[in-house]
Symmetry: C2
Subunit: 419 residues, 2 copies
């Protein structure tokens, strides 16, 4: 039997990252069945706490409204009984996903007889810094727990009451299952100091994932001494190639822009090949305008574009449009302005499709498909913790395996290494 | 045909990281055959430049000797004709390794017919900060080139002439092959400013790998804004369990300490289980002393230990030894003082072996084997860029795949995502 009790029990006065670390040692040794039972218990606890959670959320929403928060953000902040039920069923869904911990990634028997295996193990303590949506609190907890990690959550102050009510329910469920409540801890959100402590808790926190706007992410990455994973900034392009099916291009551009303009995989710039610009540009403008999209650019009749139109995300029903000389120029434009999230080409030319996918440097490159498909659920991961736009460790939608590290386990029978 | 010419040619006055980035775009598109031909050409060029390299090295060694550098470091710095030949054959060996770029890591056809594949792609620009050994200059170039990356190398000032001669040979070979010479660039080593520029060239440099002592690594990690991979600090333990075969334990401890005391996988602390201490401790002391190892600890007759004996590497023929109550106490000691490199248990008890490997959090955990086996060549990788002691991206010996990222390539035929 494995020993499952940590010797050193952390007390409440111990700083949160240290308590998370102690909890993480136990989480790493849990069986899949134990973790899944805890996830179902947590789902039950969230449902049982619905009234408390909804009352807390109501106070958050009222305070945000009074301080002049815009409706779209209020909508993300607001919980309803149906949304609480959705949050709980998200936990049950994570319980149904395969457990990444213990998976043998590689392994072999060396010529000297040593047996080596590289196993997936939890990262340890995962920090999240995120914006208003309270569902992220529970989602992040669920994904962290399933992958054997303790979670340190720093949500937005506008959701403080909602998050506190949710985390109290989760901690109660863990305690009732005999698991350490410190597997999930909410950090204070009154000021930025809790973010600073989190991202500088080197040796205690194994990774911090910022989820939010470009400003939040840049600040976290700049000041962090713990490893971070950048997520979510998507200045995505659709390049309508000379050999594009124009009807297909229209459908893809409209879908990529209008399906949910505020998310990171929405298209922000359309690049049209010069060879077909005379017909393609008017058609695209017409269909975009029919969908209430405001088009920015240097062409006559468009809202005049500045540098920011090319380099920043709109996240609204706006899009920039430029004519480019050829595929080379399209790749160069993307190289200059893209954020490495998702880039797409529309073409019926195989060589152009191969060249575009080979040369464009991004987490996802689409051929004849909407940028909206870059998403953990769409890719079949069941859930996602965010979309990484960096190259180290994880790139693109991050599911459970991306919340793990590895460990080499080596078995011998007295092996020593010759000089 | 893929377009292989970068539009924007970088000029020599452009800063090195930007020139590396331009070069990396071409390297990413090279075929395996092109890269292997370049590696063989580079090996030929290093051999052809032997006289120049040896003369430069001689000047480095003389200057280092005059400034009072100790013999062991002079030995690492010194090149001979045989060592130059070894460096060249190292490049040919890398040419013989499998190319990681283009490997399909995962892939599926989604229910909607979208075909998704996750491919290995180069990281882009890889920075290395390292100490005296000039062979690292060529090894790092070779591994970076084979994995499609440009290399920015910042070696030690004591090896400046040797490194300059080697890099000139490598750049000449690349140019003669029609490849960008900026695929390898040596950074000035007179002062620390080139390190600072390298580790803060965010957006141009994709990863920096520091290789050297704990001080160097800590400074790089603290000041970097580009992602880093920590390597090489190994405060490794061997735990001689109550059910250990004592003869096996002696052989493993002696091998792990004396084979090459200055490398990171050497054992620095031996933990002996209390249950067998009365016989095991005298036997271990006797065999260690017979191998000229100085033993530090709190037991009578040992060199008295301070906190540093437990927390720091000796990298010499010294070792610390402590008696621990049981497996729990051994794991706690390792948890407190280990650096997450390699930890070993000697035992014939299966449950103890399983518990130790499950609970100890390190890049490699050995059962009945010397810590000296944590090494890329030993693990069958053919070559290694370093041994990562961090959890993100790579952990343990890093070979060619660890110098890559991934990209999702998605093929559709007009797919749009439903609301």
């Amino acid at each position: 039997m494995l020993q499952r009790t940590a010797r050193t029990l952390a007390r409440p006065c111990t700083p949160r990252p240290r308590r998370a670390r102690v909890a993480s040692r136990r989480l790493a040794l849990l069986t899949t069945a134990e973790k899944d039972a805890a996830l179902h218990a947590a789902a039950d606890a969230v449902l049982a706490a619905s009234d408390v959670v909804l009352a807390a959320n109501s106070a958050d929403v009222d305070a945000a409204r009074e301080s002049g928060t815009e409706d779209s953000i209020l909508d993300r902040l607001r919980l309803t009984q149906a949304r609480v039920e959705g949050i709980a069923s998200g936990l049950r869904q994570v319980a149904g996903l395969p457990d990444p911990v213990g998976e043998v990634v590689r392994g072999s028997t060396l010529p000297n007889g040593l047996e080596i295996r590289q196993l997936r193990v939890p990262l340890g303590v995962v920090g999240m810094v995120y914006e208003a949506r309270p569902n992220v609190t529970v989602d992040a907890f669920g994904l962290a727990l399933k992958s054997g990690n303790a979670a340190l959550l720093r949500g937005s102050s506008s959701a403080a009451r909602s998050n506190a009510a949710l985390v109290e329910a989760l901690r109660g469920a863990l305690g009732a299952q005999g698991l350490p409540a410190d597997a999930v801890q909410l950090l204070p959100s009154e000021d930025r100091s809790s973010v600073t402590h989190l991202i500088q808790a080197r040796g205690l926190v194994d990774v911090v994932v910022p989820r939010g706007g470009a400003g939040l992410i840049a600040a976290v990455v700049r000041d962090a001494t713990v490893p971070t994973i950048e997520t979510g900034v998507g200045n995505c392009h659709v390049y309508v190639h000379a050999a594009a099916d124009l009807e297909m291009a229209e459908k893809i551009v409209v879908n990529a822009k209008t399906r949910r303009p505020s998310v990171c995989n929405t298209v922000e710039t359309v690049l049209v090949d010069k060879a077909i610009a005379d017909t393609a540009v008017p058609q695209l403008l017409s269909v975009l305008q029919a969908h209430s999209v405001v088009v920015h650019g240097d062409l006559p009749g468009l809202v005049p574009a500045t540098e920011a139109d090319w380099s920043e995300e709109y996240l609204t029903l706006d899009v920039a449009l430029a004519v480019v000389d050829d595929l080379d120029a399209a790749v160069e434009h993307i190289d200059r302005y893209g954020t490495g999230h998702t880039e797409a080409i529309v073409t019926s030319d195989l060589a152009a499709a191969r060249e575009f996918t080979a040369r464009v440097d991004a987490a996802a490159v689409m051929v004849n498909a909407s940028t909206a498909f870059t998403d953990g659920e769409q890719f079949g991961f069941g859930a996602e913790i965010g979309i990484s736009t960096q190259k180290l460790h994880a790139r693109g939608p991050m599911g459970l395996p991306e919340l793990t590290s590895t460990k080499w386990v080596v078995w011998g029978d007295g092996h020593t290494r010759p000089a």
